[in-house]
């Protein structure tokens, strides 16, 4: 593998981590969804590049799925939901932005240290990819636990899935079936959670998951 292809793959995967950090920083819902769309576009680029350098044409399908569903369909759908719910001005981060960013840096360090250590001896591209993918997964989880709003938790969950796709494409010879199932699982999760949001809306006039706790007789 020559230096340039490696560098580009590295750049795209690193870009994905960077966009994850951007997602962590947003405190408006529309901005968060826009950043998620960017996240999906970078993922699509990264997967397409992997398809090119590995000469694995089926990965183009994955890239297309990422582009169409995650970068276009889902963000548009979420935009609509937010408008219908009228919650575009809400944002409630449970933890301050500063500590969250610091925690994010810590998580990336952890995944680098861990992955580079346990995969010593593997293909360098796969190693970098796996390390980045783990960072993205952990950052996605961090988004989920630092937000109170159900929509932003959904976004965090989907960015976590993006990390899984990155890991799957970085490893050579992963069959297409898995990627399609991953993509569909996100879609299904999106639909289910979308329904779930409307249910919450009907009953509680809010999509703050805290409302569920009130319903159960719990108070924070």
């Amino acid at each position: 593998m020559n230096g340039l292809t490696f560098d580009i793959a590295h750049l795209l995967a690193g870009g994905l981590v960077l966009v994850s950090f951007m997602m962590l920083y947003q405190d408006r819902l529309f901005a968060l969804i826009n950043v998620f769309a960017v996240h999906a576009i970078v993922l699509a680029l990264s997967v397409a590049w992997q398809a090119y350098i590995q000469d694995a044409h089926h990965l183009y399908v994955t890239a297309a799925i990422a582009l169409i569903f995650k970068a276009i369909v889902i963000p548009v759908g979420l935009h609509r939901i937010i408008q219908r719910l009228g919650i575009h001005r809400d944002i409630e981060t449970a933890v301050g932005i500063g500590p969250t960013m610091l925690a994010g840096i810590g998580l990336v360090t952890l995944s680098m240290v861990l992955m580079l250590r346990v995969t010593s001896g593997a293909d360098p591209l796969a190693r970098e990819d796996l390390a980045f993918a783990l960072s993205i997964i952990l950052l996605g989880l961090l988004v989920m636990v630092t937000r109170r709003n159900a929509v932003s938790q959904v976004v965090g969950f989907m960015s976590l899935e993006n990390g899984l796709v990155l890991a799957a494409t970085g490893a050579k010879g992963m069959p297409l079936v898995v990627e399609i199932s991953v993509a569909f699982s996100i879609l299904i999760a999106f639909i289910v959670i979308g329904v779930f949001l409307f249910r919450i809306r009907e009953r509680f006039d809010s999509v703050d998951v805290g409302a569920l706790d009130d319903y159960r007789g719990e108070h924070r």
């Binding site: 989880l141 636990v145 938790q153």
Partner: protein, 673 residues
Amino acid sequence: MISDAAVLLWGVASLLGTAVLAIALSRTPGSGTRLVYGLTLGISATALLVLAGRMLEAPVTPSTAVLPVGLPWVGAHFRLDALSTFFLVVINFGGAMASLYGLGYGSHEPSPHRVLPFFPAFLAGMNLVVLADDAFTFLLSWEFMSLSSWALVIVHHRERENARAGYIYLVMASFGTLALLLAFGLLSGPGGNYTFEAMRAAGPTPLVATFVLALMLLGAGSKAGLVPLHVWLPLAHPAAPSHVSALMSGVMTKVAVYGFIRVVFDLLGEPTWWSSTIVLFFGGLTAVLGILYALMEKDLKRLLAYSTIENIGVIFVSLGLALAFKANAMPSAAALALTAALFHALNHSFFKSLLFFGAGAVLTATGERDMEKLGGLIHRMPQTSFVFLVGCVAISSLPPFNGFVSEWLAFQAVLQSPDLPQWGLKVMVPAVGGLLALSAALAAACFVKAFGITFLGRPRTSAVEHAHEADRYSLAAMFILAALCLLAGILPGFVIDGLSPVTLSLIGSRMPVQMAQPWLSIVPIAESRSSYNGLLVFVFIAISASAAVYVIHRFASHALRRGPAWGCGFADAVPGSQYTGVSFAQPIRRVFGAFVFRATESVEMPAPGETGPARFNLQIHDVIWETLYLPIGKALDFATDHLNHLQFLTIRRYLTLVFLFLIVLLLVLALWP
């Protein structure tokens, strides 16, 4: 020609088929009972014939079978070698006798549909455990055995005590299986090879071997009834119908002993000498505490269950000795100790089944298990009394019965201890031998009490006065067992020689060939050191007893007259004023009770002139239950109360918990050296 193992598997399959049939027959209890017990009797007898054929031929190669069920790519492996052959004989003989007894006893069962399906399933489970040759099959069969016996324990589940017994049994059985699961996990190692063959070949490191031994003591020990894991046993064994009690006490505890021997002697390879001290310590403790508990008991079946604990202690002491000798490369002494353990296991299955059958006959005849309400049964149930007496003499290890031979062999093994090189063992083994002697003496006292209070004296309640003799099937089972107790006692050489393939395969040595000894003597090591001749003792006892009877009848008065018992000068002694079991046990309670049971006695005397009765109060504590199990229960209550808050967190907090735990695991992975 199918292999012997396959034949036995067919036996297991037909037992399971019988269990299914029993469900179908639950509408017709009368004929269903006879059919089911007849079938189990037939199957067990056939299995015994196959096994007898194997023992007579003494084949060198074990018989194996593989079924394509169980774990993927592993399958279910079964193997029939010398050790499993011996234990299968114990199981199937016990099963055959229990079935024969059940043919008569089962007709008194108020809810046969709760017993009949599980009885053959229980037998099948025990057979499978012993046949299993991989960890998965072993554990599965073990759980199957535990669950089917649990179903039999809670047959009469409406009685509060039985429901509690079932619950405690279930908890302890799960705990034991967990320990076994961990033990096999350690044995299979990182490669995950679950067949016993691979485990045997792998040869664990000393550290792993120590953990496995400890886990086996917990797992097999809890099923066998090692103190302090015995708490479920005296509750669960008596709760089941009597023939099932006999199977659980006489046979299932042996299956646990089998599991221990299989892992510790077969799979673990060479033992370390100090690991034997753990087994010896717990064995000695179990023997003495078990029989002390039995002495304090007044429920006949619970007394027998506690006595099972004592016998398990004796078996484990012998096993510990075998480990100590094996570790020090003293093969002939190790073979002697292992033979003693196996012989005692066989004997115990004989006389404990016999005694439980007797207790069952008493229970059917009178409806009582409380000895203080029985008495005088020898006139109403003469045959049951006779065989029960035989069982009591055998279990008290008196010659010429079988209990004496196996305990004598165990003591012969104890006497080899001066040859051991380690000072720790040199000191410990005689001490444990002392405990063994103490427990043997206490066992004799205990069974004098069991027989004397139940069968002698005058009836204490009206239920006893109308008692009738047991039915012919029950009597047949009890007489066969009594005859075998005597036969194994006067001709022990046959048994010892029959056990030699087992010791050869596990230790690589055997006791001297007993059949070659003159006059059917048995010789543990060499004739110059010690020998015993059961036949000679028997002949001597028979001749001297007949001579005494002859002399008495020849020279004493011929007039037979039955008069009132001397009442110590008091007028009209009611039967309730007879010597009771509690009074019989009082001297022993005074000696050991303050320490072991925190027993306190007090007498409340009425003031002079007052007409109220004086009262004698006795308080006995189960120290192990109070100091070990109650605190665990309290801690568990406390923990569950406080962890309950975790049920009501917000969704985000649950996510945070998962996230933090993931981070901690990743950190551990990152920082692991």
